[in-house]
């Protein structure tokens, strides 16, 4: 059975990038262009992995992360960032409060994306 992955990013190019790369890796990819849309999609479908952008209009990445975790979602969440200084402190606070997430640096090449995704999902049973 193919894994379901949600990509939350306000940038179409990023969403498409992820979809193209991950569908090649035999994953089923859903996309959301805002934190709100992502949260509602996650409440309907059970995802194995979420890629989450930090800088988005409306609910930003950190806020989205917190709401997802507060809603009881335990899947791995990867925050894709180019290290915006303004979010680093918020991420630190989130870490201190026990919210779990991983960080990946933009830009990410499709082959890296695929290998990372495979590595995460192979150990996904833990979550």
């Amino acid at each position: 059975m193919s894994k379901r992955i949600l990509v939350i990013d306000d940038d179409l190019a990023i969403r498409k990038s992820f979809a193209l790369a991950l569908e090649d890796a035999d994953c089923q990819v859903d996309t959301a262009e805002s934190g709100g849309e992502g949260i509602s999609k996650a409440s309907i479908t059970k995802y194995d992995l979420i890629f989450l952008d930090l800088k988005m209009p409306g609910i930003n990445g950190v806020e989205t992360l917190i709401r997802l975790r507060d809603n009881g979602h335990k899947m791995p969440i990867y925050i894709i960032t180019a290290f915006h200084e303004e979010f680093m402190d918020q991420l630190r606070v989130a870490t201190d409060e026990g919210y779990e997430f991983e960080v990946m640096q933009k830009p990410i090449m499709s082959e890296d994306l695929i290998s990372i995704t495979k590595a995460i999902l192979e150990g996904a049973g833990v979550y």
Partner: protein
């Protein structure tokens, strides 16, 4: 003449001559002249009389029992320099008499050619001449005094002037010194102003660059992945395959530039948690390993001198690795065209710092470019081969560590970059004590 008679002293040993003179004077008395004659028959008695009381004129015979010739005149003149003297002489002695006149006698009379009129006139003229002479002398003395006085005054004025000149010179010197100080201060002010402008420019540029880089990140990631996707689904035999490869390659180049730009804008910021104790030599080793393919390809002779007592330093290892990587890459680029391909790194302790000198034998940097090498976007490399950020980023990293970076270069001979990094973080920079 005045109310008083003229007192005439006749010094004469000849009784005859004395009597003759007495007679002539008596004849003359009453007509414009009134004389009173006293006589001395020796020089000694004459001189004695001169010293006693007022005498107006001396009639002097040069040949006396106790004195002869000019000596007689000299002695009288010496005792009474202001006294009019008329020398009486015989015909055979006229030469002597003329000499006496040269030495200050008022007149001479030849005995035997004398009459009362001549005697009278000679006495009157002698007194008058002496008076004129005296007045002249006095006025000359007065003049001399005046000249002396004036000279003294002049000397004094001169002295004052000289003093004033010295004072002015001193003041001028002080003024010049003040002016020089002012100029230095002005220059420093200008420099710090230029630095301030530069800092502000850089900060504005940093913000702009960071913003732009962030904006570019997503589209670049898109291009990279779209081209990768197309490439994956295109046969290697397809003509388009190499084009897609090129797109991917160029997109990666863009991503690299963006990463550099972001590092550049981040380098100035300080994150204390990222600091740890590390050995520069170890990081250098890592960088050389990363660059080993270039070292082999370019046949570069790499030498390292690392002093045994070099301590570990408190640093952001990733930043320092980036720093060394940038400098080594620059050095290798500089070695491209040169015959002698040597790359040398020296690391040793320098007080509270560790000094790392990275030297190459490459093409060097022209003096006019040397000033700008740390400016962002300044590059001497061909378009497309450098972002012009490497050294700027490197300087940012060194500064964030509280260190210093400087460059020495000789075109055609090579370049030397000298980096000083503090062993401990300075108190100013230290917010979290993460190195202990």
């Amino acid at each position: 003449m005045g109310e008083k008679p003229i007192k005439v002293l006749l010094i004469e040993d000849s009784v005859f001559a004395t009597r003759h003179t007495q007679k002539m004077l008596a004849e003359a008395n009453g007509s414009q002249i009134d004389t009173e004659l006293e006589c001395a028959d020796h020089l000694s008695t004459g001189l004695k009389r001169l010293a006693e009381d007022r005498i107006d004129i001396v009639l002097l015979d040069l040949t006396l029992p106790d004195s002869h010739d000019l000596d007689t005149f000299t002695r009288v003149h010496a005792q009474a320099p202001e006294m009019p003297i008329v020398v009486l002489t015989g015909l055979e002695d006229e030469k002597l008499a003329v000499e006496a006149v040269h030495k200050g006698a008022q007149d001479y009379l030849v005995k035997g050619q004398l009459d009362s009129n001549l005697l009278k006139r000679s006495i009157l003229y002698a007194i008058e001449r002496k008076q004129v002479h005296e007045e002249l002398r006095k006025s000359r003395e007065c003049l001399e005094e005046l000249v002396d006085e004036r000279t003294a005054q002049l000397k004094k004025n001169n002295e004052e002037l000289r003093k004033e000149i010295a004072e002015r010179k001193q003041a001028e010197k002080a003024l010049r010194r003040t002016y020089e100080d002012l100029e230095i201060a002005h220059r420093q002010l200008e420099e710090s102003q230029a630095q301030l402008i530069q800092t502000e420019k850089m900060s504005a540029l940093g913000t702009l660059v960071a913003g732009t880089a962030h904006e570019l990140n997503n589209p670049i990631m898109g291009i990279m992945n779209f081209s990768a996707h197309c490439k994956k689904h295109t046969s290697e035999q397809d003509q388009l395959y190499t084009v897609l490869q090129d797109i991917e390659h160029e997109a990666k180049h863009c991503a690299e530039i963006v990463r550099n730009l972001l590092t550049f804008s981040h380098a100035e910021r300080d994150d204390d948690k990222a600091y740890e104790k590390e050995s520069l030599a170890e990081i250098l080793g890592r960088v050389l390993k990363l660059l080993s393919y270039r070292i082999e390809k370019q046949r570069i002779l790499v030498t390292q001198h690392i002093a045994d007592d070099t301590p570990e330093i408190c640093m952001k290892p990733n930043s320092v690795q980036q720093l060394i990587l940038n400098l080594a890459t620059n050095a290798f680029d500089a070695l491209e065209g040169s015959e002698k391909k040597e790359f040398n790194v020296d690391i040793h302790r320098e007080g509270e710092f560790v000094q790392m000198t990275i030297a190459d034998t490459g093409c060097g940097i022209a003096a006019e470019s040397l000033r700008s090498i740390f400016d962002p976007f300044f590059t001497t490399k061909p378009v497309g081969q450098g972002t012009g950020l490497g050294l700027s980023v490197s300087q940012g990293i060194v500064k964030a560590h509280g260190g210093q970076i400087s460059c020495e270069s000789e075109p055609g001979a090579g370049t030397k970059l000298i980096i000083l990094l503090p062993i401990e973080r300075s108190k100013q920079n230290e917010q979290a004590n993460t190195c202990n």
